[in-house]
């Protein structure tokens, strides 16, 4: 999907100006929103994002029609002296996903973030709408930039736009979370820049296409690859570098959480993909790719177990993001496991991309649903959610659909992604990733079942709703979840159709049931309170030894997570990962 040939010698292609527009539109809107002020900022967003959607579609159409990468040379100067913007299949998919998710987030937040009719302008709405546009502009720059330094600047813009979203409410915990996020992200980006220096010093260019032709596994390049990759992992919050993610989500508004989890962490993930697949496929070794996959597996296990032990819905969803980020890194060992086997390479990349799109849509929908429940109840303690399903059926439906989509039930994008990655695992003989892929779905089912059982429980007495939720917000969440669940149909174009079978076919139904059942067992064992008891029972007496030991394991995971998220541990871990990855790039069997 990504490896479209690049024209040499490179010139601006037809339709290249669309790429410039895709950068100018969001950034010009940021300025418009800033100057026109809070009341108009929302109008600017509502005009700009649909226009951006049309633009992304136009870029996609142009790409498909011309059949090669779209290029725009800034000022007509060709790299290495000039800077190129490029759009390939990867970029277009990400552009479209970003715009669709942002549109849904804007609709979701439409009534939450408005300036009071006759009041003074307030900070939160003004900043929210402006930052939403800034995130959009930074992401477009990440997807379209053609050289590693522009990517660095774009990534920094993304961080600067994402950090204030965490502390929109201005309470001291949220400020602290934002500062932690910013400092850790800066540590990551400075490592990335160090890597960029080494690459420039070796080859005299940072242009991706030129570097791809020149890189050889020499020491400076290997050091650069290790530094840049780990720096980006810190920004992506891959376990064990996720110290900033749970506190950042704990206090952020739901719309901001949706943007952070669905889009902002994907920016740096996308850059890892660019590095590994486009810049240095010749440097990457299979054992280094196995390391990324192993970190992903650890993220799935720890993130899911800790998610099951959370008392607050918002944090449960945040920890599920930690686990899902791990899922995104499983494509690396599959793609680089069997060098020379091009089909497996492509299938794993397509699978990973589908995974990202389906996670972006489903997780945004899930955060929105959790936010609506919080807004309506005034709290989101999982133990007190009984009766929510009756009071807010649309919201609960959105949550359930998002959960199904994340589990990878049949026609969801995650299902198709899993299928492609399972094929890649079979093709390259790496059976252990099959276990991880299937086990990850069971874990996901675990926390979805946990929440659904809580909200479906009936409540004696009436439901104390603090505040009615807007129907538009509910529909935005539902729309995103549904689109994630139906993604497989949209993806059928580039993917062979025989991969999708009917959701009611006995084999698929059996897998789905097994996953849900496994998840229910996990939830039963690991949840903090007993799943079906109405009241927290004085448990020690009537619980078996099995449950007690499983609970102890869960508590141990929680403790380990708390330890790993301490600053010293995480930053030393970061440096050790650089060393480990560098070692694997040197000593792993050459690719």
């Amino acid at each position: 999907m990504s490896a479209l040939p690049i024209l040499i010698p490179e010139t601006t292609t037809a339709g290249g100006f669309l790429l410039v527009l895709a950068l100018v539109l969001p950034l010009a809107s940021v300025f418009a929103a800033l100057t026109l002020g809070g009341r108009n900022a929302r109008r600017v967003v509502m005009l700009a994002i649909p226009a951006g959607l049309a633009l992304a579609v136009a870029i996609g159409v142009e790409l498909v029609q011309s059949g090669h990468t779209l290029v725009y040379l800034l000022g007509g100067w060709a790299p290495p002296l000039g800077i190129a913007l490029r759009a390939d299949g990867l970029s277009v998919v990400m552009l479209l996903t970003t715009t669709v998710v942002l549109l849904a987030v804007a609709l979701f937040a439409y009534s939450d973030f408005q300036v009071p009719e006759n009041g003074h302008e307030v900070r939160a709405p003004f900043m929210f709408w402006t930052l939403l546009l800034a995130v959009w502009g930074a992401l477009n720059a990440v997807f379209l930039a053609g050289d590693l330094f522009t990517l660095y600047v774009a990534l920094e813009l993304l961080t600067f736009a994402g950090v204030p979203l965490v502390s929109l409410e201005g309470r001291s915990e949220t400020l602290q979370a934002a500062l932690r996020y910013l400092l850790f992200a800066l540590l990551g980006s400075v490592l990335y820049m160090l890597g960029a220096v080494l690459l420039y010093g070796t080859y005299g260019t940072l242009d991706i296409a030129l570097l791809a032709e020149r890189v050889r596994p020499v020491p400076a390049v290997i050091a650069a690859a290790a530094l840049m990759t780990v720096g980006l992992l810190a920004k992506t919050a891959l376990f064990p570098l996720h110290l900033w993610l749970p506190p950042a989500h704990a206090g952020a508004p739901a719309a901001a959480s949706a943007v952070l989890s669905a889009l902002v962490v994907k920016g740096s993930w996308f850059l890892v993909v660019r590095l590994w697949f486009d810049v240095m496929p010749g440097v990457v070794t299979p054992s280094a790719a196995q390391l990324l996959g192993a970190l992903g597996t650890a993220a799935i296990v720890v993130g899911s177990v800790v998610a099951l032990r959370q008392e607050r819905l918002k944090l449960l969803v945040a920890y599920s993001t930690v686990a899902q980020i791990g899922y995104l890194f499983l494509m690396f060992p599959l793609a680089f496991g069997s060098i020379g086997d091009v089909p497996a390479h492509g299938a794993a990349l397509t699978g990973g991309l589908l995974q990202v799109v389906s996670h972006a849509t489903a997780k945004a929908g899930m955060f929105m649903a959790a936010g609506l429940i919080y807004a309506a109840l005034g709290h989101d303690r999982i133990a007190d959610l009984a009766g929510v399903a009756r009071a807010m059926p649309v919201t609960v439906l959105a949550f359930a659909l998002a959960g199904l989509a994340l589990m990878g039930v049949v026609p969801s994008g995650a299902y198709l992604a899993k299928k492609l990655m399972l094929d890649a695992a079979d093709g390259s003989g790496q059976w252990w990733w099959v276990v991880v892929l299937q086990g990850g779905a069971v874990f996901t089912a675990g926390y979805v079942v946990l929440v659904l059982v809580s909200v479906l429980r009936s409540r004696s007495g009436s439901m104390p709703l603090v505040k009615p939720v807007s129907r538009l917000s509910e529909l935005a969440a539902l729309g995103l979840s549904t689109s994630s669940l139906l993604l497989a149909f949209a993806a059928l174009g580039p993917v062979p159709g025989d991969l999708v079978s009917s959701p009611l076919a006995p084999k698929e139904l059996g897998t789905t049931l097994a996953v849900v059942l496994g998840g229910a067992l996990l939830a039963l064992g690991l949840s903090r309170r007993s799943l079906f008891g109405a009241a927290p029972v004085d448990s020690a007496a009537n619980e078996g030894a099995l449950r007690r030991s499983v609970v102890a394991v869960g508590a141990a995971f929680e403790l380990a997570d708390r330890l790993i998220r301490r600053w010293q541990f995480a930053s030393i871990g970061l440096l050790m990962l650089v060393a480990l990855l560098g070692g694997l790039l040197v000593f792993g069997s050459p690719g």
Partner: protein
């Protein structure tokens, strides 16, 4: 040892000192300063590379210099944002520390 070697070593030393400070200092302001130290080290390395380009017969490679200027702007903005957050944190909580990793519960409505 020639001049670019010396500059390269200085840059690496700055990166090392900055990393040490960023890891062990608990105060956020010192972490911000340490980040700036690492940044300076990286910029110095960029300078060395520009100089090395000059050794090939060119009059100094201008591209790394352009990159350094951009990098300094980015690092300056990052520092400004971090300091602004720190000041707000000090205002809101009376203390400026990062040492409560546990996500606190929101105030009950």
């Amino acid at each position: 040892m020639n001049a670019s070697m010396l500059y390269g070593m200085c840059g690496s030393a700055l990166v090392g000192i900055g990393l040490y400070g960023l890891i062990v200092n608990p105060q956020p302001l010192r972490k911000i300063l340490s980040f700036n130290l690492i940044g300076s080290g990286v910029f110095l390395l960029f300078g060395v590379i520009a100089r090395r380009g000059a050794a090939l017969g060119m009059g100094g490679d201008p591209v790394p210099q352009a990159l350094v200027i951009t990098g300094i702007v980015v690092a300056f903005s990052a520092t400004a944002l971090a300091v602004a957050l720190l000041l707000r944190l000090q205002e809101a909580s009376g203390s400026a520390t990062l040492s409560s990793p546990e996500p606190a519960d929101p105030p009950d409505a």
